[in-house]
C-alpha cells in the first residue's frame, strides 16, 4: 500500500513539475483526470491547475507585492486555514493563522491526497484537515474528533475558515464573478468596484439563527433572502476556470462570506466560515447592561467538496448543473415526485381570527365547500393540473390555530367530512391535495399553558418572530421534540382520514441553536430533529416542503414557495436562476405567490425562464375581510380576481412546459434584455424582458415576450 502511495506521489510530482503557472514553493499533492492539486506546505495554501489549459485557481494571493494591510488580513492573504478561538480570560475572539501565529504542521500523504495535522501552539488547539481528490472533485474534511483543545477552559475553537482566498482576484484584473446562493442565486462581478461596496456579504446558511442573534428587520425593509443552498462559487470567465464549493457537512454552522474589492481589501474573495463556539452578550435586564458569555459548542464534521469547472462548464449554469449532479448522486431527489405532470399550485386560505367585542371571532375566508366550487370552476376553465394546498384549515385558523397538535378541521369551514369530500373531489379530478402544516409556530397568546414548550434564546428570552396585525404580536417557536410529537399526531390522524399530502412550512426554513430549561442545544440537534420529523412524515404521507433548506430536500416530493430573487445587495450585479437550474427536471418546484407581484407579465416570463411552476393564494371571500386580522398583508386573494388570469397562464405555460418536460437546463445566458435558456432535450427558450422589440439568434421577440424553439424546429 505504502509503495503504491509512494509511486502515485512520484507520478504526481513528475507531472506537476512541468507546470509553468505554479511556483516552486508548491508541490503536486493530488490529481484527477482533469486537474492537479498543488500544495505549499508551510502555509497550507493550494493551487488547482487545469491539465487541459494550465489555468489555475490560487488559495493565496498570487502577487505578493499587492499585499497590504494589517496582520489579520495578511493571514487571510496567505494562510490556507484561518482559525478563530475564544479566550477564556477575556471572553473574546482571536485570530490564528499560518502566517502570523506560532504553529506546527505535519503532512501525511495518501494515495490521492493528504492529511495535515495542524497545531496552533498559542491557544493549544490542533486539528486534522484531510484532503482527497477524485474525478468528482476535491474533498476537504475536518473530522470533529480530530479537534483537540489542550485547555478548553482557557482557549476554545471559535470558527474555522478553509482556503478563504481560493480563486481570489485583485480589483478588476480578472474578469469573472462570484456566485452567492442568495435566494435564487446572484453574481458579484470581479470588476473594480471603485470603493463603492464597503460592506461584505456575511449571511448564515439556512437563515438567521434567531435563537442566537435575532435580527430585527425594520418593518420598512423587505427581509433578506435565506440561503437555502449551502454552496458558493467563483468563475474566471476569460481563463474559463472556476469552482463550485458544496458544504456537505457543517452546513448548519456555516456563514457565507463574500468580500468584493473595496470591502476591507482590494481583493475579491468568497468563502465559508464554520462556527463551533460563539460568544454572545447576555443582557442583565431591560437596560443595556450585559456580560460576554460563551454559548455551548456545536459538534460536526466539517466537509467541503470543491467541484472545479473549466471550459464551457466554467459558467454559472455549468456550476448549477454540477450541483444538480451532486444532488442527484447524493440522493437529494430520492422522494421527488418526478412523474408529476405540469401543474400550478393553488393554496386556499381557510380561516383567520379577528377581535370581537367580547373575545375573538372567526373570519371565514374559504370553506371546504367553497374551495370545491373554485376547483370545479377552474377545471371547467381548462385548468386541470393543480397541486392544491390548504392553509388555515384547522380549528382557530392560520394564526390562532397554532401550534398544530392534532387533526382538527375547523367546523366553521365545514368540518372533517367536508374536508374529506374536498380532497376526494380534487383527487378525482386528478389534482394533488395537501394540508399545510406548520409544526414550528406556537401562538402563546392563544395557548399560554404551552409556555414550557417554547424554545428559548441562548440569552434565555423566548425565540419568537414579531408579527404585524391587530390580534397577535408574536409567534413563538416550539421545541423540536414537541414539534415531532405534534407531527406524529397530525400525520397519523391525517392518514387515517385518507389524506395523502402535507405541505410542511415553518420548520423547513428555520435553523438555530437554542436553550431550554437552562440547557444549550446546538443547531446540530435542531437539524437532526427536523430531519427526523420530516423523514418520519415522509415515510407515511407525501410531503411537500415550503421554502426548504437544502438538507431537507431528500424527503420532499415537491418544493414550493421558492424564492425568485436575491436580496438586492448593492454588490449583487446580476440575478441568476441558480436554484431553478439546479433543480430543473429533478423535482417539481413552485414559486412564491403571484398575488403580491407588481408586474404579472414579468412574473410570467420569469416562470418561463426558470421552468418553475407558479403559485396562487386564493380565497372565496374578499381579502378586505382580512384587514383586521394578522393576515392583513394578504391584501389580494379573492378567487374572482384571479380566475381568468390563472386560466390564461395555464394555457400559455402548458405549451412551454410541454416542450421542456423532463428536461434540465443546460445553459442560461443573457444578451441585452433577452435571455436564452437551453434545455437538455434540445429546446431553447428565449425571453425578452425589454420594453422594446429585440432580435436574438435570428428570432424576433416583441417586447415582454417569449419564444420556444424545439430541437426539431
Amino acid at each position: 500500500m505504502l509503495i503504491a502511495v509512494f509511486i502515485g506521489l512520484l507520478a504526481i510530482c513528475a507531472s506537476g513539475a512541468a507546470a509553468e503557472n505554479v511556483p516552486d514553493a508548491y508541490r503536486a499533492a493530488a490529481e484527477n483526470s482533469a486537474y492537479t492539486l498543488y500544495l505549499r506546505e508551510d502555509t497550507f495554501s493550494i493551487i488547482i491547475e487545469s491539465k487541459a489549459t494550465g489555468e489555475t485557481l490560487w488559495s493565496a494571493v498570487r502577487d505578493e507585492s499587492k499585499i497590504k494591510g494589517s496582520d489579520t488580513w495578511k493571514g487571510y492573504f496567505g494562510s490556507g486555514i484561518i482559525l478563530e478561538y475564544i479566550t477564556g480570560e477575556t471572553q473574546s475572539g482571536v485570530q490564528a493563522d499560518l502566517i502570523n501565529s506560532p504553529h506546527e504542521i505535519a503532512y501525511r500523504y495518501t494515495e490521492n491526497g493528504f492529511d495535515a495535522d495542524i497545531s496552533f501552539t498559542e491557544p493549544g488547539i490542533s486539528l486534522t484537515v484531510s484532503i482527497e481528490m477524485d474525478d468528482g472533485g476535491i474533498h476537504v474534511t475536518v473530522p470533529h474528533d480530530s479537534i483537540i483543545e489542550t485547555d478548553s477552559a482557557a482557549n476554545t475553537l471559535g470558527a474555522l475558515i478553509l482556503f478563504p482566498f481560493l480563486g481570489n482576484t485583485y480589483l478588476g484584473e480578472t474578469a469573472g464573478y462570484m456566485m452567492i446562493p442568495d435566494g435564487q442565486g446572484v453574481l458579484v462581478y470581479l470588476n473594480d468596484k471603485e470603493k463603492r461596496v464597503t460592506t461584505p456579504y456575511v449571511q448564515p446558511v439556512y437563515g438567521n439563527k434567531s435563537g442566537v442573534s435575532p435580527v430585527t428587520i425594520a418593518d420598512y425593509s423587505t427581509p433578506i433572502e435565506n440561503i437555502l443552498m449551502p454552496v458558493y462559487g467563483m468563475v474566471h470567465t476569460d481563463e474559463k476556470i472556476g469552482f463550485l464549493c458544496v458544504i456537505e457537512d457543517g452546513d448548519h454552522a456555516a456563514d457565507i462570506l463574500v468580500y468584493p474589492n473595496g470591502a476591507r481589501t482590494n481583493f475579491n474573495w468568497i468563502a465559508a466560515r464554520f462556527t463551533y463556539n460563539m460568544l454572545y452578550k447576555q443582557p442583565l435586564g431591560p437596560s443595556s447592561a450585559s456580560v460576554s458569555k460563551r454559548a455551548g459548542a456545536r459538534a460536526f464534521d466539517l466537509k467541503l467538496h470543491f467541484l472545479p469547472a473549466e471550459g464551457e462548464n466554467a459558467h454559472y449554469a455549468g456550476l448549477a448543473s454540477a450541483y444538480r449532479a451532486w444532488l442527484a448522486d447524493n440522493g437529494f431527489f430520492k422522494r421527488a415526485d418526478a412523474s408529476r405532470a405540469y401543474d400550478f399550485r393553488v393554496d386556499f386560505l381557510g380561516l383567520e381570527r379577528e377581535k370581537a367585542l367580547l373575545g375573538k371571532k372567526d373570519v371565514v375566508m374559504t370553506t371546504f365547500e367553497q374551495a370545491e366550487t373554485i376547483l370545479n370552476a377552474l377545471a371547467e376553465a381548462g385548468v386541470s393540473g393543480l397541486s392544491v394546498g390548504y392553509r388555515g384549515w384547522q380549528t382557530g385558523g392560520i394564526t390562532a390555530g397554532l401550534p398544530l397538535s392534532g387533526y382538527t378541521p375547523a367546523s366553521s369551514l365545514g368540518g372533517a367530512g367536508a374536508l374529506n369530500a374536498l380532497r376526494e373531489r380534487a383527487e378525482a379530478m386528478g389534482m394533488r391535495f395537501a394540508l399545510e402544516a406548520d409544526f414550528r409556530s406556537l401562538n402563546l397568546q392563544e395557548s399560554p399553558t404551552l409556555n414550557y414548550s417554547c424554545m428559548e434564546r441562548i440569552t434565555s428570552e423566548e425565540v419568537y418572530e414579531t408579527m404585524s396585525g391587530m390580534l397577535y404580536d408574536r409567534m413563538y417557536t416550539l421545541l423540536p421534540e414537541k414539534s415531532l410529537e405534534n407531527a406524529k399526531n397530525v400525520v397519523s390522524a391525517a392518514r387515517r382520514e385518507g389524506m395523502n399530502g402535507l405541505s410542511l412550512a415553518g420548520i423547513t426554513s428555520f435553523m438555530t441553536d437554542y436553550k431550554h430549561n437552562g440547557d444549550f442545544y446546538s443547531a446540530d440537534t435542531l437539524k437532526a430533529s427536523y430531519l427526523a420529523l420530516v423523514r418520519s412524515a415522509a415515510d407515511q404521507i407525501g410531503v411537500e416542503l415550503g421554502a426548504p433548506n437544502a438538507y431537507l430536500w431528500p424527503e420532499g416530493a415537491a418544493l414550493y414557495d421558492l424564492p425568485m430573487h436575491g436580496s438586492g445587495f448593492l454588490m449583487e450585479e446580476e440575478e441568476i436562476p441558480f436554484l431553478s437550474i439546479a433543480l430543473s427536471g429533478m423535482i417539481p418546484c413552485y414559486s412564491e405567490y403571484m398575488n403580491f407581484q407588481s408586474d404579472s407579465d414579468e412574473w410570467l416570463l420569469r416562470h418561463i425562464e426558470q421552468g418553475i411552476r407558479p403559485s396562487f393564494l386564493l380565497t372565496w371571500a374578499d381579502s378586505v375581510h382580512l384587514r383586521n386580522t394578522n393576515s392583513k398583508n394578504m391584501y389580494s386573494t379573492q378567487y374572482t380576481l384571479f380566475d381568468e388570469l390563472i386560466a390564461d397562464w395555464y394555457a400559455r405555460l402548458a405549451e412551454v412546459y410541454k416542450a421542456i418536460e423532463g428536461a434540465s437546463i443546460l445553459r442560461h445566458d443573457r444578451t441585452g434584455t433577452c435571455t436564452r435558456v437551453r434545455w437538455s432535450n434540445g429546446t431553447t427558450v428565449y425571453i425578452n424582458y425589454g420594453d422594446a422589440d429585440a432580435r436574438i439568434d435570428g428570432f424576433d421577440l416583441p417586447q415582454m415576450s417569449y419564444k420556444v424553439v424545439r430541437a426539431d424546429e
Binding site: 463603492r196 420598512y220 379573492q638 380576481l641
Partner: protein
C-alpha cells in the same frame, strides 16, 4: 462661465454605472387603507441604475438636482465645485462653473435653458447661458426689508415663468427670498414658515419681559428645499411638523393639506402634468401624494448599513421624469439613482389621470385592475365608488366608499339610497304608524270598558315592589327633581350600591355601543379595534377615582355626603346619557352628514343635563351652596389628577426597582455562577 475647453472631448464619456438588478426592492411599499392607516402594497418603484461617476470624475457630496425640459439632469456636484449636465443614461453633456463656483448646492434650469446655480459659500446665485457663460449674478439684496442681519447664502433656487427668483438662504429663517427678474430687487419674503408656539410658549410670552423673551429665541423653522410647477405654484419642505410640505399660490398661501407627511423632508419634486408631489427626507423615506394631498405610496429606502441596492444614506435631491421615473441624489453615497415605476404604479397613475380629468367611468377599469392587485387600496375604492355613483349604483358606491374610508362620498350615496327607500316605503310607513296609533287607542278604549289590561298592571305594580327595581325607578326621579331625589338618597336610603352599579353598567354599555357600533359616518374607532378591557378600566376607573376624590374633598370641605351617597348620586347623574346615547346610536346609523346637527344637539342636551345633575347632586348631597359645589368639583378633579399621577409614579418606580434588582441578581448569577 463658458464650458470648459475640453468640453467636446469629454462628451459621451460613460459614467460609472451600477446596473439595475432585476426588480428587487429592498423596501416595503405602503399605501393608505380605509381607516387612514398604512397598509402594505405591491412595489411601486423599483431600483434602477445608480451612477457614481460622470466623465472621469466621481460625484462628491452632491446637493442639488434638477430635471430640465430637455430630459437632461443637472447635478450640483457640490464637493467638486461644479454643476454637471447629464443624461438619464449616464452620459456627461456639459460642465458648468469650473473654478467659478464655490459651493453649488442648488440648481434650476428655465425654459430658455439658462442654468441658475445657488452658490452657498459664494453667497450668490449665478446664471449661466446654455453655452456655459455667466450671464448674471444675484447677490445679497440691500433692501431695508431684507433685514440688516439676515445673511444671503443661497442653498436652493427656482424661477417662475416671469423670471422671478425664489431663493432659500442658509441662516435666513424668514422664508423664501423673492427676487425680481429684471433688476434682482428684493420683492419680499414669500410664504414664510410660522413659529412653533406651544401652550407653554404662549404663557411665557404673556408673562416674560422683553429680555427674557429674547432669550427664548422663538424663530421659524427654516425651509430645506423648494420646487416649482408649470403653474407657478411653489412647493416648500421643512423639518417642521405642521409645514413639512406646502404648496404656495401667488399670494404665498398654502393650498395643500397632505393626508400624510414625512418628518424632516429634505427634497420635493413635482410631476408637472399631474400635479403629483414627491417628497423625500434625508434618510431616504419617499412619499407620493396626489395633487389633492392624498397619499398614494410611501417607502423607506434608508440604507441601515446593509448596502442594498436602491437605498440611500442622505438624500439631497429629488427629481421626477415625465414617465414618473424618480431620480434620487444621495449626498453621502455620492450617487444618483433612478427608481422606475412598476406596472402597478403605472396603472395607478393612469387611473389617477382619468380621475383627475373627471372621467370617472373610464377610470373604473384601471381602478378595478388596481383593486385586483390590492383590494385595500383606499384611493382605488374611492375611484370605483365615484364611477358607480355617477352610474347611479349608489349601493355599490356605498360599499366602495366604506372600504375606501371616504365618508363624504358615503354620506352622499347613503342619502340617495335613503331617499329612494323613503320614496318607496314612506306611504306604507305612515299607514303603519297611523294603524299602530289607532290600535293603541282602541286598546285603551276597550281597557276602559273591560279592564282587559288589569292583570298586566298588577304584574307591573308588583315589579315595582322589588327593591332594586324600585331604586332604579327612583334614579329617574333625579331627572325631574334633583333636590328631592338627593334628599331621598341622603336621608331615606332610596339608593344602593347595586342600583348605582347597574346604572354605571348601563352607562358603560352606552359608551361601548356608541364607540363600536355607531354608523360608519359617525364612528371614529378603527374597525375591529375592540379594546373592551381598556374601555372598562377607563370608565369604571375614572368613575371610582372621581367618586373617591369627591368623597375626600367633600369631607375636607365639611360636606355631609357619605361615599355611598356620592357614588349613587354621581351614577344616577349619568342617566341622561343612558337615555340619550341609544337614540344617538340609532340616529348615527340612519342619518347622513346633512342631518348631523340632530346628533350634535342630542349630545349637547345629554352631556349638558348630566353636568347639571352632577353639580346639583354634589350641592344637595353635601348641603353646599352652588359656589362651594363648583369649588368642590374643581378640587375633586384636581385630586383625581394627583392620585392618577401618584399611581403612575409609584408604578414607574416599581418597574425601575424591579429592573435594578433583576439586573443585580442576573449579573451576580452570570458572572459568578454560570
Amino acid at each position: 462661465m463658458k464650458r470648459i475647453a475640453a468640453f467636446a472631448l469629454i462628451l459621451l464619456l460613460t459614467a460609472l454605472c451600477v446596473p439595475a438588478l432585476a426588480a428587487v426592492a429592498p423596501y416595503r411599499t405602503y399605501t393608505v387603507g380605509s381607516d387612514g392607516s398604512y397598509v402594505e402594497t405591491q412595489t411601486a418603484y423599483e431600483p434602477g441604475e445608480t451612477f457614481l461617476k460622470y466623465g472621469d470624475k466621481k460625484l462628491k457630496q452632491p446637493e442639488g438636482l434638477f430635471l430640465a425640459a430637455n430630459g437632461h439632469l443637472y447635478i450640483a456636484d457640490t464637493g467638486n465645485k461644479r454643476v454637471i449636465e447629464v443624461t438619464a443614461q449616464g452620459e456627461l453633456i456639459a460642465i458648468y462653473g469650473v473654478k467659478k463656483l464655490d459651493s453649488p448646492t442648488g440648481v434650476f434650469v428655465d425654459e430658455q435653458m439658462r442654468v441658475y446655480v445657488a452658490d452657498r459659500t459664494g453667497k450668490k446665485v449665478v446664471v449661466f447661458s446654455p453655452s456655459g457663460e455667466i450671464v448674471r449674478e444675484y447677490t445679497r439684496p440691500d433692501h431695508p426689508l431684507y433685514g440688516q442681519n439676515n445673511p444671503f447664502k443661497p442653498t436652493k433656487v427656482v424661477v417662475d415663468k416671469r423670471g422671478n427668483l425664489y431663493v432659500l438662504s442658509e441662516g435666513n429663517t424668514n422664508g423664501v427670498i423673492q427676487l425680481a427678474a429684471a433688476d434682482g430687487d428684493f420683492l419680499g419674503y414669500y410664504g414664510p414658515n410660522t413659529t412653533n408656539v406651544s401652550v407653554f410658549t404662549a404663557i411665557k410670552q404673556l408673562l416674560f419681559n422683553e429680555d427674557l423673551l429674547k432669550d427664548m429665541n422663538i424663530i421659524p423653522v427654516s425651509l430645506n428645499n423648494l420646487a416649482i410647477d408649470g403653474k407657478g405654484l411653489v412647493y416648500t419642505v421643512s423639518d417642521k411638523v405642521s409645514d413639512e410640505l406646502r404648496r404656495l399660490n401667488v399670494a404665498g398661501r398654502n393650498t395643500l393639506t397632505p393626508q400624510k407627511a414625512l418628518s424632516a423632508n429634505n427634497a420635493v419634486a413635482v410631476h408637472d402634468a399631474s400635479g403629483t408631489v414627491f417628497t423625500v427626507n434625508t434618510s431616504g423615506e419617499i412619499m407620493e401624494l396626489c395633487s389633492d394631498g392624498s397619499m398614494m405610496f410611501r417607502f423607506n429606502a434608508y440604507d441601515a448599513g446593509e448596502q442594498r441596492g436602491g437605498t440611500f444614506r442622505t438624500v439631497s435631491g429629488l427629481a421626477v421624469g415625465e414617465d414618473f421615473t424618480l431620480y434620487v441624489l444621495d449626498k453621502d453615497n455620492a450617487s444618483l439613482t433612478a427608481l422606475h415605476p412598476t406596472r402597478y404604479a403605472d396603472q395607478i397613475h393612469e387611473a389617477l389621470q382619468l380621475f383627475r380629468d373627471g372621467r370617472y367611468a373610464q377610470a373604473k377599469e384601471p381602478w378595478l385592475e388596481v383593486l385586483r392587485m390590492n383590494s385595500l387600496f383606499s384611493y382605488a375604492n374611492i375611484g370605483i365608488g365615484n364611477a358607480l355613483y355617477r352610474e347611479g349604483d349608489f349601493a355599490g358606491a356605498l360599499r366602495y366608499y366604506e372600504i375606501g374610508g371616504y365618508k363624504t362620498g358615503y354620506s352622499n350615496a347613503y342619502w340617495k339610497i335613503r331617499s329612494q327607500w323613503l320614496n318607496r316605503y314612506l306611504g306604507i310607513f305612515v299607514i303603519a304608524l297611523v294603524a299602530a296609533a289607532a290600535l293603541c287607542a282602541a286598546l285603551k278604549a276597550i281597557d276602559r270598558k273591560t279592564r282587559i289590561l288589569s292583570p298586566a298592571r298588577r304584574v307591573i305594580g308588583r315589579l315595582w315592589n322589588v327593591k332594586i327595581l324600585r331604586e332604579m325607578k327612583y334614579s329617574l326621579y333625579l331627572l325631574r327633581n334633583p333636590y328631592d331625589a338627593c334628599y331621598g338618597i341622603r336621608r331615606e336610603g332610596k339608593s344602593s350600591y347595586l342600583s348605582a352599579f347597574i346604572v354605571l353598567i348601563l352607562f358603560f354599555a352606552c359608551v361601548v355601543t356608541r364607540k363600536y357600533y355607531s354608523g360608519f359616518l359617525f364612528n371614529n374607532t378603527a374597525e375591529g379595534a375592540f379594546e373592551l378591557p381598556m374601555d372598562a378600566a377607563l370608565v369604571f376607573g375614572a368613575f371610582l377615582l372621581c367618586a373617591f376624590s369627591g368623597y375626600l374633598v367633600g369631607n375636607v370641605m365639611s360636606g355631609e355626603a357619605r361615599f355611598r351617597d356620592l357614588f349613587a348620586g354621581l351614577a344616577y347623574s349619568l342617566i341622561p346619557l343612558v337615555i340619550f346615547q341609544p337614540i344617538v346610536l340609532l340616529l348615527t346609523n340612519v342619518l347622513t352628514y346633512n342631518e348631523r346637527a340632530f346628533i350634535t344637539l342630542l349630545n349637547i342636551v345629554g352631556y349638558g343635563w348630566t353636568v347639571v345633575l352632577i353639580v346639583t347632586t354634589v350641592k344637595y348631597l353635601n348641603n353646599f351652596s352652588f359656589r362651594r359645589a363648583f369649588i368642590m368639583i374643581f378640587w375633586t378633579l384636581f385630586t383625581a389628577l394627583i392620585i392618577a399621577a401618584l399611581i403612575f409614579v409609584v408604578y414607574s418606580f416599581s418597574v425601575q426597582l424591579i429592573d435594578f434588582v433583576t439586573t443585580l441578581y442576573r449579573e451576580a448569577v452570570y458572572r459568578f455562577v454560570l
